[in-house]
Symmetry: C2
Subunit: 91 residues, 2 copies
DNA sequence: TATTGATATTGCACTATTACGATAAATATT
DNA sequence: AATATTTATCGTAATAGTGCAATATCAATA
């Protein structure tokens, strides 16, 4: 074994667990903190802000995006990330 | 690599992440659900309630206890688990 | 005290997560 | 078009988490 048995739990329990898991890493908490503070920013700012390499940050951003906590707008060369207020309400 | 670089983040960010991580598994959400519903119960009830083997449940209970979300009173042969209201307030 | 019952711990197999260098992809600039 | 800039993806090493059978522990009871 080794994999979480999600199918044995309710949708609501899985939904809460998924949201909680997304915030279960300090880097992702730090990203949310930062986005709350600056309202919206480009990805590069977050990479500068965090003590992690760019690919690692990109990976964390992807996870936050996948759980719907943040969204990203492509603006030419850069990507503007911001918190999805709807998702934030769930918390 | 592979381990979370906790030392690079603030205490608050790590504290939030630790709490969130504890709730980042549906089994642990289910345990909290159950304890909220019945107020307090003995460990065996949780094992019966969950679709997981006893050692696995015991492990999840340990994690919840370690993060301070629940507490356990030894009552003779059994252990009575209940939610720590103080910890719940943090959420 | 031998047995039963409840919970915890150990040991192990398996899967998932974290981190980062290298590199790709795509737009902007020269 | 060539180059620089920004972000994503790939590949991979290291660590962490999940689940369970077997077993240990410890109180209750026969």
């Amino acid at each position: 074994m080794g994999a979480t048995k999600r199918e044995h739990f309710t949708d609501k329990q899985n939904a809460i667990a998924t949201l909680a898991k997304a915030l279960g890493h300090p880097a992702r908490v730090a990203i949310m903190d930062y986005l709350l503070k600056v309202d919206a920013c480009i990805c590069g700012d977050i990479v500068t802000e965090l003590p992690l390499a760019q690919p690692t940050v990109s990976q964390h951003l992807k996870e936050l995006k996948n759980t719907g906590l943040i969204k990203g707008n492509i603006e030419g060369n850069t990507i503007c990330y911001f918190i999805d207020e709807k998702a934030l309400d769930k918390l």
